[in-house]
Symmetry: C2
Subunit: 110 residues, 2 copies
């Protein structure tokens, strides 16, 4: 995308990059979405898959993702309670972003 | 990318998504890279293009981006000093990530 040096568009509140980052720019957010991916995943599995995240941070991120309609949370009325997470249709649409992050990392960083 | 429910790969310190996020997950980082894009841009222009960013945050982000070799900074020995920013080859490779963020925002959020 070529833009003229003196005539580019400002990224204001209507800017789609800004809108996406307001949902997705957390340190862990896209990593969690990438790890859930197309799976149905239990809390404990997700915790192990996102190495190094604290309990508090993972719960906080998952609540935010559920609230922003990126992640579904399904609670089974069992003892002990079983909780499963999966991506919503909207959440699945973030996977191309995570895939680009993976590709950039793979080709340039790791 | 299909992954088996019980057999997915953990995102540990060798995970490319994690590596990319360690450079790019800031609230403003990908917005700044997207706004510089293929341009050579002066500090003041960039400040106007990233609406709402504080002076302190923009300088901090730019220093981090220069340090991480994503952005070139060129200082002209003039009075007043003229400072121009552009993406490095590595920085240019982050544009597909920003483009995916733009596309996701455009189609789903704004």
């Amino acid at each position: 995308m070529k833009k003229n040096l003196k005539n580019f568009t400002a990224c204001d509140e209507k800017c789609p990059v800004r809108a996406s980052l307001s949902l997705l720019s957390g340190k862990w957010t896209l990593m969690i979405l990438f790890q859930i991916n197309e799976n149905i995943i239990r809390y404990g599995e997700l915790k192990r898959a996102v190495v190094g995240i604290s309990e508090k941070m993972l719960i906080q991120e998952l609540n935010m993702l559920v609230e922003n309609k990126l992640v579904n949370k399904k609670i089974y009325p069992e003892i002990p309670p079983k909780v499963e997470y999966s991506l919503t249709d909207l959440g699945l649409k973030t996977l191309p972003i995570a895939d680009q992050l993976a590709q950039f990392g793979l080709e340039n960083l790791v």
